[in-house]
């Protein structure tokens, strides 16, 4: 495969597409599929055939606003239809060339206006299983340009210049990580993609792997070229069967096209990727645990140093990045580091994909420039809290993150700002809670999660989370005293300081952040035996106690 051949493919796809008068794109991501997008697509194909119109019905990845699904976008007019059922297929096809179907048309301009799409630029525009469609949207151009015109150091320099930081949550500068691996001695090096999106409530990595798998593969190939690796592994959760299938198909097609394998683009660069399935262990999102799991062992972390960059998979220097990090690489190489660095805030560059879920009007995937205010994400893009309820908190960073209250919503989103608020960026889950959620119960939910997901290797995490869970259960059932609260707080700092890996070190965050902003609720549970959200069932509520006394 050469650049000329790549351009030839892109050209022929464009010519093919120009033959059609209309394009009907059907979102077939998990959320839309669960609402019948599969039948809808079949009905659209049938209706298009029957109408005799020149229509291309295409399956695409996630378009974003999942709560409005199943979604259909008709091009060239970019008319977006929401809540489309199979019965609507005929009406949509009949409307082609005329006025759009009024009942189905949706106005989500506010939702899209504030978004900037880099990682999700192809989502909703290409069929994930057609490599040629990816190539037609400048796919693999970055890889071939880098291989023929840039040195590995040049690639690293561009990534460093972009200011990209790891999108898995930690926010370690990607360029720095790459140069460490590149400098590490050893003839065999590995590139690993962390697709173990264990963080409940986050699904952006799934969406990228399912909707645009080649973007991840291209990012990995560029990384391999930069650090001098020739073998890559993608570690995907087994709970994401579609992502596994799409990546498998993507790797096969890339090999057939000569974009993976030996002597890629007639250069000495060899690279291939293998898929490894996770098996349902949250701790495997931690890099050393993930490597142990790829080696076929129990996914337990080990102390660092040595860091994986020096001694990682099978004892060799290994580069580990998250799916979204790799998905950012190709556009950075294509458009330059400065282009990327122009977006975002001072210390957090570029864009971030968030999975907006919970008690919010427009749930789904959004991609926003860093530095945007949380309030804009929730109230403008997300459309606010529905059903007349009031906003209480937004939870970011999953079980390792914290709850951010309403009064902090004017903070711009960045790695450092979220840490200052007692939360973390995490992989990008954003769960909105309203007045029907009890913050103590939420904290208990996360501690229960960490307790069951603790691998058991170090005591502070294994025993500490279990004790924290017991204390929180006591509070939630109205059996706790103020001494228990004190004990809980001291336990939080012990677990945070003394745990071996990120899971334990961040496990107290949900408790600490709710204690910081919603201490009143804890005290109400303990002193008044009252849960204002009505979630926790107290053994004997204060009202009942009075009755008993009377």
């Amino acid at each position: 495969m050469t650049i000329e051949e790549l351009e030839q493919i892109a050209k022929s796809v464009c010519q093919e597409n120009e033959k059609f008068d209309f394009e009907v794109n059907v979102c077939m991501d998990l959320a839309c599929s669960s609402q019948g997008a599969g039948q809808l697509k079949d009905a659209l194909v049938k209706a298009a055939e029957a109408s005799g119109k020149n229509v291309n019905v295409r399956r695409t990845g996630c378009m974003g606003p999942c709560s409005s699904g199943p979604l259909v976008r008709v091009d060239p007019d970019s008319t977006l239809y929401h809540h489309v059922k199979a019965d609507h297929a005929e009406a949509i096809v009949n409307s082609l060339g005329g006025a759009p179907v009024p009942d189905l048309q949706c106005d989500l301009n506010e939702h899209f206006d504030k978004q900037v799409r880099v990682v999700l630029e192809n989502a909703g525009y290409i069929d994930p299983e057609k490599i040629d469609e990816y190539i037609a949207r400048d796919g693999y151009k970055a890889l071939l340009t880098a291989l023929t015109e840039m040195t590995p150091n040049g690639v690293i320099h561009r990534v460093t210049e972009s200011g990209l930081r790891g999108r898995g949550g930690g926010g370690y500068p990607t360029g720095l990580k790459w140069s460490t691996v590149a400098k590490a001695s050893g003839d065999i090096k590995y590139v690993v993609c962390n697709g173990d999106e264990g963080d409940p409530g986050a699904f952006m990595d799934r969406s990228v792997m399912e909707g645009d798998p080649h973007r991840v593969i291209e990012g990995m190939a560029l990384a391999a070229y930069a650090v001098g690796a020739s073998k890559g592994y993608i570690y995907v959760r087994a709970e994401y069967p579609v992502a596994v299938a799409r990546l498998t198909a993507g790797l096969r097609d890339a090999r057939r096209r000569g974009l993976l394998g030996n002597n890629i683009c007639n250069t000495p660069f060899n690279f291939d990727v293998e898929i490894r399935l996770g098996a349902g262990a949250f701790v495997c999102g931690e890099e050393t645990a993930l490597l142990a799991s790829i080696e076929g062992k129990r996914g337990t972390p080990r102390p660092r140093p040595p860091y994986p960059a020096v001694s990682g998979l099978f004892g060799k220097p290994t580069l580990i990045n998250n799916v979204e990090t790799y998905a950012n690489i190709a556009p950075i190489i294509r458009n330059g580091g400065k282009w990327f660095a122009n977006m975002g805030s001072e210390r957090s560059k570029g864009t971030k994909v968030f999975a907006l879920t919970g008690k919010i009007t427009h749930t789904g995937l959004v991609e926003v420039p860093m530095g945007i205010k949380l309030r804009e994400i929730i109230e403008v893009i997300g459309g606010g809290v529905p059903g007349g309820h009031t906003f209480k908190a937004v939870q970011t960073g999953g079980p390792s993150g914290g709850c951010i209250p309403a009064e902090m919503l004017d903070v711009g989103v960045s790695y450092d700002a979220l840490v200052r608020l007692g939360s973390i960026m995490g992989s990008g889950g954003m769960i909105v809670m309203d007045d029907t959620s009890c913050m103590v119960n939420v904290a208990r939910f996360f501690i229960e999660f960490c307790m069951t997901e603790s691998c058991g290797k170090c005591i502070p995490c294994r025993a500490g989370t279990a004790q924290m869970f017991t204390l929180l259960t006591k509070i939630c059932t109205g059996k706790a005293t103020m001494d228990d609260l004190e004990l809980l707080e001291s336990l939080c700092s012990t677990v945070k300081e003394a745990s071996l890996c990120g899971l334990g070190q961040t496990a107290p965050n949900p408790v600490l952040s709710t204690l910081k902003y919603f201490r009143n609720e804890y005290i109400e549970h303990i002193v008044d035996k009252h849960c204002r959200a009505g979630v926790c069932s107290m053994e004997t509520s204060a009202a009942e106690q009075k009755e008993v006394l009377a």
Partner: protein
């Protein structure tokens, strides 16, 4: 064949280990190895054990191991193949995989029990999986789970006595925007109510 291998692992393993330690012959493998008696003192090419039965699914399992060159790091991959072929992992399967990949039985069992995805019990004819991720929890997944537990009379993670329905929970299936989510035999259903869950269970019960 199965019985023979069992003997080797449980009945004779200690005397064998003692013998290996005292004789210190190079190249002898410490694993429970059915072919140990044929290979002492030499380092012959490793011959994987024969398939446990004529069941065609074992060939699929063997295929995964062969694709990975019978390397030890293929353990989790192979266990995935076993589970997707047989529905669960039984003793014979774990033993077969461990022997084929020359992984100690203790390690294989450790891996199987470490990861939630692997199951040691056969699943029911139908499986209902309630997602217990954060978004689903906020939208009331606990009520769905409680309703299903009450209807089936079993706690989550178990199968009804007649082997018809398994009730499982998942940590997050990634369809959070449609929470609460339930998987009906692996098929995702979004924005599910307790009534819908009970209706589905009713339908399966009369099948």
């Amino acid at each position: 064949m199965t019985a023979h291998r069992r003997d080797n692992c449980h009945g004779q393993v200690w005397p064998r280990l003692v013998r290996i330690w005292t004789e210190k012959k190079p190249g002898t493998v410490f694993d429970c190895d059915p072919l140990a008696s044929n290979r002492e003192g030499t380092v012959p090419a490793f011959t994987p054990p024969p398939l446990p039965s004529d069941d065609k699914r074992w060939k699929i399992v063997n295929g995964t191991m062969r694709k990975n060159g019978f390397a030890r790091h293929a353990l989790i991959e192979t266990l995935h193949t076993v589970q997707s072929s047989f529905g669960y992992l039984d003793d014979d399967a774990i033993r077969f995989v461990a022997h084929s990949l020359r992984v100690p039985l203790s390690q294989a069992y450790g891996v199987v029990t470490f990861y939630h995805y692997f199951s040691l019990k056969p699943p029911g004819k139908h499986t209902i999986t309630c997602c217990a991720g954060t978004a689903c929890y906020i939208k009331g997944a606990d009520k769905l789970i409680a309703a299903a537990e009450k209807r089936l009379g079993i706690p989550q993670g178990q199968t009804t006595a007649d082997g018809k329905i398994s009730l499982m929970t998942a940590r997050c299936v990634g369809a959070c925007s449609r929470a609460p989510v339930v998987l009906r035999d692996g098929e995702v259903m979004g924005e599910v109510s307790s009534e819908q869950v009970l209706e589905q269970l009713e339908r399966w019960a009369v099948e």
